[in-house]
């Protein structure tokens, strides 16, 4: 049963995602911010040109970042570096893989490149994370080869409500599948528009086949701890850190909140005196075209 040495397998890619658990992945736009994130205890950084809050303000088409900036960030830190591509834009993904990026986020925060198809991710050696707002979407992405799933939330708003909604939807759907008899699973797969074997996996194990993180709207240590309590494995923080008054303190506090989410005494201590959080956006005030979570198919 001796197999040769292999790279880029599902085991390697999903195993790498396991190493992020209980951790915080932070959006950064400069090498200096990446260094701050690493020093604060981030498990990885997401390199992008503009954080989601600024993408909202700037408007226009948001694309993969300049490779020069990504290389600077790769050179600045020793923790893994992630970067985003537009939904369906497999050439941007090929470029990021060639740059040596450790993880690719096929992200609804950027302007989609394809209105029907996501990237076929099994073709890549580099692992992918994708957003999902319900179980069918999550399992379709895993079926395409995603090694990690995150909630979509509503990025750049500093408002946790959508991330909570997506987490509760995915986790509630998992519980309801567990309760179904096995002879109903094909119909469940049809209704979810999800691969049958992945529905079987969820039924048997009561969880997604890959690591599941929170993202979109995390602004405070309490937000991060809330998402961990709901049953997610870790947290992405975007605009929440570098759009706040004191990024270093807030970054460290959010890292601690994810580790000690079950300890309200620790949470009380680390939530104190962090300065002003990012200014939030009430999601009800967003017109449909401004909602990022609706992107993805």
């Amino acid at each position: 049963m001796t197999e040769p040495t292999q790279t880029g397998t599902a085991q390697i890619k999903q195993g790498f995602a396991e190493m992020f658990k209980g951790g915080v992945i932070m959006d950064v736009v400069t090498a200096d911010q990446a260094r701050i994130a690493e020093a604060a205890g981030a498990t990885a950084v997401m390199a992008l040109e503009r954080v989601p809050a600024d993408i909202r303000v700037a408007g226009g088409v948001a694309r993969m970042s300049d490779p020069k900036m990504i290389k600077e960030i790769i050179g600045a830190v020793t923790i893994p570096v992630m970067a985003k591509v537009r939904i369906g834009h497999f050439v941007e993904a090929q470029i990021l893989q060639a740059l040596g990026v450790d993880f690719i986020d096929e992200s609804e925060v950027l302007t989609p490149a394809d209105d029907q198809y996501h990237i076929e991710k099994t073709k890549f050696t580099v692992p992918f994370v994708c957003g999902a707002k319900n179980l069918g979407e999550a399992l379709r992405r895993v079926g395409e080869g995603a090694s990690m799933i995150r909630t979509k939330g509503e990025a750049g708003t500093g408002n946790i409500i959508e991330a909570v909604r997506h987490a509760r939807t995915v986790l509630g759907e998992i519980r309801s599948i567990q309760a179904r008899p096995t002879d109903e699973l094909m119909t469940v797969a049809r209704d979810l528009q999800a691969p049958y074997h992945l529905v079987q996996y969820v039924h048997e194990h009561g969880k997604l086949p890959v690591v599941n993180f929170a993202a979109g709207g995390v602004a405070t240590p309490a937000d991060a701890a809330l998402m961990m309590h709901l049953g997610l494995d870790g947290v992405f923080v975007g605009s929440g850190i570098f759009k706040s008054d004191n990024p270093e303190r807030r970054a460290r506090a959010i890292v601690k909140a994810v580790t000690h989410y079950q300890n309200p005494d620790v949470l009380a201590e680390i939530s104190e005196d962090l300065g002003a959080p990012m200014t939030g956006i009430n999601i009800d005030s967003l017109v449909p075209a401004e909602r990022l979570a609706g992107r993805g198919w």
């Binding site: 197999e3 292999q6 195993g15 396991e18 260094r35 205890g41 600045a76 890292v255 580790t259």
Partner: protein, 201 residues
């Protein structure tokens, strides 16, 4: 025979996988997040994850000295991947903004180099010949460190492509790969034996 009581450092990383594997072997497992959690344990596993993150959180929760004391009092320690880095006396490849220095427990006479096999696209799995095991161990290497130097009294248990990837020194075990990501529990069984063994007089 009573099974040993083992802790898994649960600050960040693959601590749940270690917990499940140890429990499948009958061990009692406690997740360690604060110094008080070490009470009554015979062994502690430091999991894979990000060594810089785990080191940061160990400092924030004043865990360095209690873990060293735990070992001095006879507790066994096993570091996997990031955990192996944290056991080593000397760490190469630390981030420049940390002044090229990375904090570690400095308990095991090793020099470890971080990310020695390259970036994530270079991660791999391979059957590994391990001293004392009849058949190869399915080893998963993820942005793995290597052990560049071992001191006297450190026993090398496995090498990959000539590089040391598994070593033991007394009640200390370091692996640069991830046994917790496979279904093979033989190295966890080895660690339980180490933790349960009587202390030398």
């Amino acid at each position: 025979m009573t099974q040993p009581h083992i802790g898994v450092l649960a600050l960040q990383g693959a601590f749940r996988e270690h917990r499940q594997r140890l429990e499948s072997l009958g061990a009692r497992v406690t997740e360690v997040r604060l110094p008080a959690d070490l009470a009554g344990l015979q062994g502690l596993v430091i999991p894979g994850g990000e060594s810089t993150t785990i080191a940061r959180l160990m400092a924030d929760y004043a865990l360095w000295a209690p873990v060293r004391d735990f070992h001095a009092a006879g507790g066994a320690l096993w570091g996997t991947c990031a955990g192996a880095i944290l056991l080593a006396r000397e760490v190469h490849g630390a981030p420049p903004q940390f002044g090229g220095q990375q904090d570690s427990l400095a308990l095991m006479d090793l020099t470890v180099r971080r990310n020695a096999f390259g970036r994530q696209v270079d991660s791999f799995h391979t059957p590994l010949q391990v001293q004392g095991l009849d058949t190869p161990f399915p080893a998963v290497f993820i942005r793995a460190p290597v052990i560049e130097r071992v001191g006297e009294g450190v026993e090398v248990l496995a090498r990959h492509a000539g590089q040391i990837v598994l070593a033991r020194q007394g009640r200390l075990l370091a692996s640069s790969f991830h046994p917790e990501l496979t279904a093979d529990a033989r190295l966890h069984a080895l660690f339980l034996d180490l933790a349960a063994a009587p202390l030398p007089a």
